[in-house]
């Protein structure tokens, strides 16, 4: 069951996705870009600061609303949903939890209002899920920090105004030698090496970044020195619920297209939906997708209730992202040859949804964490 405001938020997101995202998603994919005006409108409506309290410029909604809104936005355009997802968590979530008053005023307020876009830079070419293996260095020089290194797969790396960067400040201290920094992207030394060419989600910029003698003031440090690893792990619940919600939303859109097509398309004298092979395929997709959806909402409810939610978030992301790919594949199969053409959106959605099993922790990492909750020493 959802509350009145959760329903209203979901409905607003659905209307926005139907009218302002879905009709343009194919064109944005070709252009490799989402219009700035669309992001600004998402910001004005509060979608870029959903769970941030109003005193910091956000909407003050709960995580169930956040998940429902992300599902709807992802149903309109997967690439847009990735930008929205990253902005809400980890970026806003980390600033809210670890930012000083001044940092929140400077960065969180414009982020939550959607006036600027934020990025999160943990992954490096040689270190993804094993974040303890980072090589980017931050060295203290007088009252400044100097940042050198490279980051990989950074969502919004070229459109962001601020980037949360994780760097080694004490190489001898291992995990406890990592710190988090708020890096203004207009600083000399912040370089977008490449905007990656991807299988899907082409309208969302995924970047390789380099930092070359990038100087930061003392107050660029987010949280305490050496606290970076803990900070990086702390927003994983909301982040994973976000990706899981995106998966469900994209798959729901693909399934809707498939059902609509199956109702219209006639073969052997009747709509193909009236052929059992097609009907059962879609029925199974719908049931499995609903199960994934409930898992996502369950994880969101745990988080809202202040209960431990990491295991539920991992399970939701694992199940939702893998179910979503299967549902999108079933949608393509339902459209037959047309499913393989760009004339219908299902091929694009399938491309877009594939990465949900990879980013914010691969499926294998989710299994690893779930297994650890059983006591497995992995």
């Amino acid at each position: 069951m959802t509350s009145e405001d959760q329903r209203l938020i979901a409905e607003t997101a659905r209307a926005f996705a139907r009218e302002r995202l879905a009709p343009f998603a194919a064109a944005w994919e070709k252009a490799g870009k989402i219009p700035e005006e669309t992001l600004r409108e998402l910001g004005r409506l509060g979608f870029l600061g959903m769970t941030v309290p109003p005193e910091w410029g956000g909407a003050g909604a709960d995580h169930v609303s956040y998940a429902l809104a992300l599902m709807a936005i992802a149903g309109g355009d997967g690439a847009t949903s990735t930008i929205v997802s990253v902005q809400n968590a980890p970026v806003n979530a980390l600033l809210l939890r670890y930012g000083s008053e001044a940092q929140k005023r400077r960065w969180l307020v414009p982020l939550a209002r959607g006036e600027i876009i934020g990025a999160f830079a943990l992954t490096e070419p040689q270190a993804g899920s094993d974040a303890a293996n980072l090589r980017t260095r931050a060295v203290r020089k007088g009252d400044r920090w100097v940042l050198d290194g490279a980051k990989q797969f950074i969502t919004s790396g070229s459109i962001a105004k601020v980037c949360i960067v994780f760097a080694v400040t004490d190489p001898a201290a291992g995990k406890k030698g990592i710190s988090a920094f708020l890096v203004p992207t207009d600083r000399p030394g912040y370089r977008v090496v490449r905007v990656e060419d991807k299988l899907g989600q082409k309208a969302s910029d995924t970047c390789a970044l380099a930092f070359e003698g990038l100087e930061l003031e003392e107050d660029a440090l987010l949280g305490r020195e050496g606290e970076g690893y803990r900070i990086a792990l702390s927003a994983l619940e909301a982040g994973r619920i976000g990706i899981a919600a995106q998966s469900v939303g994209m798959a729901e859109a693909a399934l809707e297209h498939a059902i609509a097509y199956a109702r219209e398309r006639v073969a052997f004298g009747k709509p193909i939906l009236d052929h059992q092979a097609v009907a059962f395929r879609l029925a199974e997709a719908k049931a499995r997708l609903e199960a994934a959806r409930q898992l996502v909402l369950h994880a969101a409810r745990l988080l809202d209730a202040g209960e431990p939610a990491l295991e539920a978030a991992c399970m939701a992301k694992l199940v939702a992202s893998e179910t979503a790919e299967r549902v999108c594949s079933a949608a393509i199969q339902t459209l037959g040859g047309y499913g393989y053409l760009e004339d219908f959106p299902v091929a694009r959605i399938w491309r877009d949804v594939r990465v949900c099993q990879i980013y914010e922790g691969t499926s294998d990492i989710q299994k690893l964490l779930i297994a650890r909750h059983m006591g497995a020493r992995l």
Partner: protein, 249 residues
């Protein structure tokens, strides 16, 4: 000036409606319901009037079952200041709605009642006109542009021959058409704030109105299925078929 905006909960415009198997009505079980799109336009116009400083308070009112509160919350999230629900499970027909609204007008003393020209469920297109009649107020229907100044409303309306401009003295009843404006999306912060805005619930008896229906629906049926057309090979054949088969020439 206070503006009263009546809003109706209807089957969402994206839903393909189905007639109940026994022909007694439209199947609304498990069907998505939304604010009547014309009423959304009226709400938007009222909010713009408030933003321009023409209005000081917007009161949204809905009539019907308890779930109409959702529709009122939508109006509050868009920007209405407070809401009134006249709660009843009786089927409400335009005359009953107009009488109930008249009683609300007597309580609230608005300078303007602005509402959709019709609801997309029964398409009656009667309530605004009946309300103006009962109140003895001027009315301007199908507005596509509204300007308020010095106690008068200048209303442009779409008619078959083009555009007609009326001037009505306030207080008045205005019903709005599709091209008046494009309603805004309710923002998330405003949706959260709407929870705290006042929503009053009244029974029809509190307004001294008996809403019992005066008309009886006999039967609902699906419109006849359209047959597929045919292609003709020439103008000559077209004329021939129009003359001899269709009998329209």
């Amino acid at each position: 000036m206070r503006i009263l905006v009546p809003v109706k909960r209807v089957v969402d415009y994206n839903v393909k409606v189905r007639v109940k198997a026994d022909g007694s009505g439209i199947d609304t079980a498990n069907v998505k319901m939304s604010m009547n799109p014309f009423d959304e336009i009226a709400t938007e116009e009222a909010i713009r009037m408030k933003e321009r400083g023409v209005a000081s308070e917007i009161v949204a009112v809905s009539l019907g079952e308890s779930r109409c509160q959702e529709t009122l919350r939508t109006a509050l999230a868009m920007g209405a200041d407070r809401a009134i629900l006249v709660e009843t499970n009786v089927e409400l027909q335009p005359l009953a709605v107009a009488k109930l609204l008249k009683a609300i007008v007597a309580r609230e003393q608005p300078g303007l009642v602005i509402m959709g020209k019709q609801a997309i469920d029964d398409d009656s297109n009667q309530t605004a006109q009946m309300l103006a009649g009962l109140l003895g107020w001027p009315q301007a229907t199908f507005a596509s542009r509204i300007d308020i100044a010095d106690g008068w409303a200048t209303v442009q309306r779409e008619i078959d021959e083009g555009l007609e401009t009326l001037r009505v003295r306030l207080p008045a009843v205005i019903s709005v058409d599709l091209r008046l404006n494009e309603p805004r999306y309710a923002s998330l912060p405003n949706i959260m704030k709407a929870k705290k805005k006042p929503l009053e619930v009244l029974p029809p008896e509190a307004l001294g109105v008996d809403p019992v229906p005066r008309l009886r629906y006999l039967r609902f049926e699906e419109p006849p299925k359209r047959k597929a057309g045919i292609k003709v090979s020439s103008v000559k054949e077209l004329v021939e078929r129009l003359k001899n088969e269709a009998g329209v020439l």
